[in-house]
Structures are given as structure tokens and as C-alpha cells.
């Protein structure tokens, strides 16, 4: 065979690969639209080249409620949707910086108001239908529609006005904001681009929010992510298969993802997840608690456990600072008086033993916190914030200044009383299903006992806890945790703005109740429109400082991200950002048993 001939064959084979994986199934019907489907502009992954084939089995702690990215809020739904959908610009979970996704490039205008986005050519949804600028237009129309109540909507309102989207041609779009928006490119992360050809009709009929329930057939729910729905068995599992139209390939030129299938099993609890992993039924386990992590580490066989370091979740104690006014009982009103005194809150903060929380609750796999920015966040921490050691004396001084006294109690212990000589006692709510936070609250209650304060831990069912915090406002104090999806301060904006729904100590205020809350509002707005990272950081540093001075949240600790995977899972690189283990799912592959044996 002549060299020329060989070359021709090689070319034919290479073309064949591209054709089969990229276009073959719809070749016949695609002919009229040939300009769009001729060539896909693949994104080339720089990760280790893997092996094609195999199925990966994981477990979910609950059944996902929906596959519809517009309405999904629960973690299991988001986890499944995350591997079925794709976004224009993506945050790399490892570097915490943005990188191109469906968009090939993104240019910001000089005034910072316009983002010009160019789409990849030849993109196709998982049903083989082409994707272009019209789909993007449709997607943003849906997300911004007030009637839909998409959780992402708030993020797309900049300076009080929704982002304007304009189509230039089939591959070019311009996004315009009324005010400059710091880190605007991060907004696009997690905004799944929707298939207009399937969803426009239900949208116009006003049925979009009901769409994508788990009863839909696989063909009805498509996306641009690496996997697509194959089978859903209620109460048992969801099976995803490789999306043959996926737009990434590895450096050898073979199309991603490597895996044929992903199976998510529904199990009832975290303990059940551990048992399934331990028995070898599942390949990866994430969101582990420290206890389960050490149980698994102790008897690791065929799998290895990874501590990825502190995540972004911050746990905190907070007091009820709502103005409950006339409807509260005299005792509740008295307690509110204590909680409103910043010295009282500072005293509590001074007496909380954060190191003990890290040691006893997280078995040392976590970090103590004095602010909302955890050590897992590489760029935003205010290093000026002090980390004072626990001090009973300072707490006593602060309480004395605030007019509290100590009296001999009935058991011989000292009892803290206020100016009206009523003993200082209150309840701390925790979620009954979260053993970690209940443990934190129990430790805090014991710390407070040393100040003569009687705190009673009350574990409640999570829904009734939220009802008390957000609706009836009938509670004293509460231990909760929040987990940001992104390192950027904008992801927490609803927590810090006094009008925000997650402004837990006094949510959804019409006007800021205190001057420091007003200042935080102003600073958060400032960082939103500032153009440079330095300017934004300066504003957010001040926010952190105000939080530290006023202690609306008494920050406690953050757990490490703990995951485990079988030894034969390749390219497994857990990160501290959600979804911890599956962020690079298209690059995950299964090694042969013989390869791992030698490892």
C-alpha cells in the first residue's frame, strides 16, 4: 500500500469518527440545514486522555423533584441537571475562574455595559436539533419572565433592570446592562440553554413550570450537557446515557464524554449512601460527613478517600432581630431587647469555642470561621478580620457593660440576669435532621452555661424551623448553614441585602432597620457596579468588617469537602465548589481492573 493511500484511509477513519459521533444519526434530515451541521467547533479538553466506555453509578440522598433547570432548587435535582445541561460561560470549579462553554468567546465593552458573545458553530441539542442564537434569546426570555419564578431571575436583574439580550446573527449575541456589573461573565454559569423547538409551545401555553416533571419521556427533555436521559424508574434510579452530540473532545480528538452511562440511585439517607459505597454498589460518594468519612477511610479497600479542604459552606448562630412588635409576649420582648444589644451578641461570639466545634463536630476536618468567606474561597477573604481566641473574661466584660448581672442560682451556679433581674435564658433552634448542627448548638449551650446563660437546644423538623424563621418569626436563636455556589460575593447578595429573602436575622425589610445594614446595602451595590476586582474587593472587605463588628451572624465553622471514589475512576479531581465530584463528569473514565491492580 502506498503511503498516499494510507494517508487517505487515515483521513477517512478520522472523518468517520467525527461523522458518527457528531452528525450521523440525523444526516439525512440535516441536509437542508447543511451550513449549520457541517462542522462542530469542539472545545478541546486539556485533561488526561481517558478510555471510552463503562457506566458510573452514584447515589442521591433523595429523588430529584424535577429535571427542569428553570424551577429546580433541591440539591438532587441540581446534581442531575448539572450533567445534562450546559451554559454559555462556565466557572472552572478547580481554578474558580471563568472559561468558555457554549460561547466561543466573550468580549466586554469599554464601559463595562455590554457583553458580546460568539457561539460555537454546529452545536446540537441531545436530540440532534441544531442550537443557535434564537435558543439563547428564548432561554433568557424564560429566565427573566416574572411568571416563571426562576430562582436565577434575581441574578439577572442588574441595577433594578433585567439584562437586555439582542441577537446580532445566528452566532452572535449582545447582552446589555444598565449599570456595569462586576464579574458579569460569572452570571452565565449555571444558566442552562433551553431547547426552543421543544419548550416554546409549553411556554406560550403557560405550562413551562410543570414541564420536565419526572414523568416525561427521554425524548421530551433534551439539553446540551454531556449526558441525556435514558430511563427513569420512580423511587429507584435515573439512568443517563452519553449525549452523542456533545461539543467537547479530548486532546486526542475523540469526542467526550468517555462514559457510556451514569446511574443515579435514590437512597433514603446519607448513611445509606455510605453503605452503598462501602459495598461497592456505587463508584463515587460526595457530601460526606466527617464521621462517615473516617468510617470509610478506616476500612478502605478498592477505593480512596479525599479531603478536598474547607468548602464554601458557613455555619452560624443568629438571633431573632425582627421587629415583632406588639404581637410578641412580654418575655419574648425582653429577650429581643438582649438580642438587639450588639454587646450581647459580641459576648456570645467571644465565648463560643469554635476550635471545639471543628474538633468535635467535624473531627478536625473543617475550619473555624469569623466571617462568611471560608478558607476554600481563594480570592475574597478580608485578611484584616481578627480571629480572637475564646475569652470568658471579654464576654463577661461586654455583658457587664450592657447592664447584665450575675446572681447565685438555685444549684449554686452563677446565673446571668438582666436589668429587670429576669434570668437570661433562650432556645436555640436546629434542624433535627442535621446531626452536625445539633451538635454545634449543644456545644454552644454548654459554652453559654459558663456565662450563666441557660440555652435550650430545640431540634425541629427543617420545614417548621424555616417557617418559624421566615414566616411566624417566633424563635429566639437558630443555628443554620448556607452554602454558596460560587466564590463571588454576588452569589450571597440575598443574604446581605436588607431586602433579601435570605437576610435571615430580619428578612425582606422594606427599609434597612439599622444604619449598619444600610451601609452593607450600599457597599453591596457598589461592589456590584465596580469594574475592577480591587475596587469590588475593597467594598466587600468593608462588608465583612461590618459583619464582624455587629455580629448579626456569629460565624462558627466550615466543613471540609469530603469525597471518595473507587480507584479505577480516572480524572477524579474533587473541588470545594459544587458539584464537588461531578464537575468534570465528561472527563471521568473507568480504568481497567488490571491497571488499578498495579497502582
Amino acid at each position: 500500500m502506498t503511503p498516499k493511500c494510507l494517508h487517505a484511509i487515515r483521513r477517512a477513519v478520522w472523518l468517520g469518527v467525527v461523522l458518527t459521533v457528531g452528525h450521523f444519526p440525523c444526516l439525512a434530515e440535516a441536509f437542508p440545514q447543511s451550513p449549520q451541521t457541517t462542522k462542530t467547533e469542539f472545545l478541546v479538553s486539556r485533561e488526561v486522555v481517558g478510555k471510552r466506555g463503562g457506566r458510573l453509578v452514584l447515589s442521591l440522598r433523595a429523588e430529584p423533584k424535577t429535571l427542569n433547570p428553570i424551577i429546580a432548587v433541591d440539591a438532587p435535582s441540581r446534581e442531575v441537571i448539572g450533567v445534562m445541561q450546559a451554559d454559555l460561560i462556565h466557572i472552572n470549579r478547580s481554578s474558580q475562574l471563568t472559561e468558555p462553554g457554549l460561547a466561543k468567546s466573550c468580549k466586554v465593552s469599554k464601559d463595562g455595559l455590554e457583553y458580546s458573545i460568539e457561539l460555537r458553530r454546529g452545536l446540537q441539542f441531545s436530540d440532534g436539533k441544531p442550537m443557535d442564537a434564537d435558543d439563547v434569546l428564548f432561554t433568557f426570555r424564560v429566565y427573566l419572565d416574572e411568571a416563571i419564578h426562576a430562582p436565577q431571575r434575581d441574578l439577572l436583574i442588574v441595577g433594578g433592570k433585567p439584562i437586555e439580550v439582542r441577537k446580532v446573527d445566528a452566532y452572535h449575541l449582545v447582552f446589555r446592562m444598565v449599570k456595569p456589573y462586576g464579574a458579569g461573565d460569572r452570571l452565565f454559569d449555571g444558566l442552562a440553554i433551553l431547547p426552543r423547538h421543544l419548550l416554546e409551545k409549553p411556554y406560550q401555553e403557560g405550562k413551562l413550570a410543570q414541564f420536565g416533571g419526572l414523568s416525561v419521556s427521554p425524548a421530551e427533555w433534551v439539553g446540551l450537557g454531556p449526558f441525556r436521559l435514558k430511563e427513569y424508574v420512580a423511587g429507584q434510579r435515573i439512568v443517563l446515557e452519553r449525549n452523542p452530540y456533545y461539543w467537547k473532545m479530548d486532546s486526542n480528538g475523540s469526542q467526550l464524554p468517555y462514559l457510556d452511562e451514569i446511574v443515579f440511585l435514590f437512597v433514603p439517607s446519607a448513611d445509606a449512601q455510605v453503605l452503598r459505597f462501602q459495598s461497592g454498589e456505587t463508584d463515587i460518594v460526595a457530601r460526606l460527613g466527617a464521621e462517615n468519612f473516617s468510617v470509610l477511610s478506616r476500612q478502605a479497600r478498592g477505593y480512596s478517600m479525599t479531603d478536598a479542604g474547607p468548602g464554601l459552606e458557613y455555619n452560624f448562630l443568629f438571633f431573632n432581630l425582627n421587629d415583632t412588635g406588639a404581637k410578641s409576649s412580654p418575655e419574648a420582648a425582653r429577650r429581643q431587647e438582649w438580642f438587639r444589644d450588639v454587646r450581647f451578641r459580641q459576648a456570645i461570639s467571644a465565648v463560643v469555642d469554635r476550635q471545639a466545634i471543628v474538633r468535635l463536630v467535624y473531627q478536625g476536618r473543617g475550619a473555624a470561621l469569623w466571617g462568611p468567606v471560608t478558607p476554600g474561597n481563594k480570592r475574597w477573604a478580608n485578611t484584616e478580620i481578627k480571629h480572637p481566641a475564646r475569652s470568658l473574661e471579654r464576654a463577661r466584660d461586654l455583658l457587664r457593660q450592657a447592664g447584665f448581672l450575675w446572681k447565685d442560682g438555685s444549684v449554686g451556679d452563677q446565673m446571668l440576669v438582666d436589668q429587670h433581674s429576669s434570668p437570661v435564658e433562650f432556645s436555640i433552634l436546629t434542624s433535627a435532621s442535621n446531626a452536625d448542627r445539633t451538635k454545634m448548638a449543644t456545644l454552644i449551650a454548654d459554652d453559654l452555661k459558663q456565662l450563666g446563660i441557660r440555652a435550650q437546644v430545640v431540634p425541629l423538623e427543617f420545614r417548621s424551623l424555616l417557617d418559624r424563621v421566615n414566616q411566624t418569626k417566633d424563635y429566639d436563636a437558630c443555628v443554620l448553614g448556607l452554602a454558596s455556589f460560587d466564590v463571588d460575593p454576588n452569589s450571597d447578595i440575598n443574604v446581605w441585602l436588607s431586602s433579601g429573602g435570605t437576610h435571615l436575622w430580619n428578612p425582606s425589610q422594606a427599609h434597612p432597620a439599622t444604619s449598619w445594614e444600610a451601609e452593607i446595602d450600599k457597599l453591596m451595590e457598589q461592589q456590584l457596579v465596580a469594574k475592577s476586582f480591587e475596587e469590588r474587593k475593597k467594598s466587600y472587605d468593608r462588608v465583612q468588617q461590618i459583619l464582624d463588628e455587629n455580629q448579626p451572624f456569629i460565624f462558627l465553622a466550615t466543613p471540609d469537602i469530603l469525597v471518595g471514589a473507587k480507584d479505577n475512576v480516572g480524572n477524579f479531581q474533587p473541588t470545594v465548589l459544587e458539584p464537588y465530584a461531578l464537575w468534570n463528569v465528561e472527563n471521568l473514565f473507568l480504568r481497567n481492573a488490571s491497571e488499578t491492580g498495579g497502582k
Binding site: 455510605v274 460527613g289 464521621e291 468510617v295 474538633r359 446531626a435 456545644l443 435550650q456 431540634p459 429566639d476
Partner: protein, 345 residues
Amino acid sequence: MKNAPRKQRLVVALLVLLHGVVLLGGFVAPYDPIRQNRERPYAPPAGIHLVDGQGKFHFRPFVYAQRLREGAFDQYEDDHATLIPLKFFLSGASYRLLGIIPAKAHLFGADEETVNLLGTDGYGRDLFSRILYGGQISLLAGLLAASVSLLVGTIVGSASGYLGGWTDSIAMRLAELCLALPWLYLLFGMRAFLPLLVSPVKAFLIVVTTIGVLGWARPARLVRGVALSAKERDFVRAARGFGASNSYILRRHILPQTKSVILTQATILIPQYILAEVTLSFLGLGIPEPAPSWGNLLSSLQQYSVLSSYWWMYLPAMAMVPFFFGYLALSAALQEGRRAAKMDL
């Protein structure tokens, strides 16, 4: 049949001994049950030794000091170089003997280091002390709840059996309703309506009254049966013929007949209600932390990691076994005695 009373006496002696230990829990327990030792979470039980590593015999029992392994959270090693001799009748944490007399004396302990005979829990609290103090709460809850439900059951049962008619119908239908309701789920719902800040004493009383009041139906039905047959006896008819009032007949003739039934019921109900308290506290509806009770001591076993890593956390369950055994043996002995008495008649 002759040795039935002896068997009864034996069982009663066992129960008195067990209750005595728990009643004097403050003295027997070396530490305050809610004191946390944050340096020693999940320390395993310390073995008591008389012979050390060199084979030397010590008259005073001792334990080895436990050292946390470097960098570990719950891995302890016995330090064979440091012997901690046990001291007896020493002074320590203050408590109230029988809930009244302030005292500081403890049966045993050690001078500097802590001795955790049965290990510690996740907060480093001494499990041995917690089991004893928890026993006080759980046993008292069982006894009080049993008294409440027997009292209510006896009054309702004897009145309904003796008076008959409408009173009987209403009381018995109510009893059936009570037996049919799924109480555990109702209790879960009830918790939402209680105020958040409940003092431990109040929580205890709520638990006792709930268990006691909910359990009246069964003893009431038994007592009713006895009253029903007793009111047809000749001496009751005679008393009525002589013009005795209802309350006199109930007091003087009917209630004494129910005595043995009530006694047997008590021996069955007490362990059952101890278990009820344990169930409620296990599920977080009973005695709140940090106060110990057998139920909330066991509640940490709901976590798989605790279940699989720290075997000594099962010990509170083991502590219940002799009590339950004692009560059930007593009930069997009482029933045997009753049968014997009937045969003698």
C-alpha cells in the same frame, strides 16, 4: 407452688438493689453527667486492672491513662507507663443525694485524671455517670407514668364496671378509641404546638403525663372486668341490701378485689413505660439534651458512624436489661401466686 413467695422475694430483692444503685446515682457516679470534656470525645471504656505490665500485683485497682493518638480524633492508646490508682469515697462534683441532700462524696474516682469506666460520648461526657443519672429519669418516668395510668384506669374501670349502663358504654368506647389511635404520629404533631423553651422539669412532667394518660385504657378494661364479676358476688349484693352507698361498696368491696390485677398490671406497665420514655427521647420528643435519659443516650446510635465505630454507646441499652428482666420475672411470679391462691380457694 411453695417456692413462689421465695422466688418473689428474690426478684424483689434484685429490683430493690438495682433501683438503689440508680437512686444513689449521684454517689455511685464519679462525675457530673453533663460536664463535657472536649479533649476526650469517644474515649473507650477504661479497663480496671490489678496486675500491671511487669506482672506486679497492686492492692489498689488501677486504670491506665488513655492518650489520644497524634492527629487522631477518636483513637486512644493505653499509656502503660502511667497508672491511675482508683480512690474510694473521695470528694468531687457536687450533687443532691435523692434529689434533696447536697453532697460531694463519690464512691470512686481518681485524683487528677478522669476515669471513664464505660467510656465517653461525642462530647467527652462520662457514660457511666450518664447511665446512672439517665436511669433516675427513665425509671422515675416509668414509675410515675404507670401510677398515673393505673390511677386513671382503676377509677374509670371500676366505675364503669360497677355502674354499667351509659357510663360503661361511653368509657369503654373511649378506651377503644384510645387504643386505636396512632399515638406516636400524633405526638410528633403535638411537639410543634409546644413552646420552644421548656424547662427540663416541665419536659419531664409532659412526658410522664402523656405516657400515663395515654395508657389508661388497658388497665381500665381489666379492672372493669373484675368489677363486673365482683358486683354479682353475694357479699356485694348483701351490702347493697343493707343500703350501702355506691361509693362505700366500691371502696370497701370492689377495689380490694382488683388489687392483684393492678399489681400485676403495674409490673407489666412499668417496663413498658420505661421503654415508652426511651422511645420518645430516642426520637427527640422526650427529655431534651443535655439532661441524660436512657432514650436520648441511645439516640446517637441513629447515626451509622456511631453505630459502627463506638460499641460502648450500646451500653445504656444493656443497662435496661436487668431492670426489664426483674419486672417481668416479678410479674410472672405474681401471676403464678395468683393462680396458686385461686386453686387454694
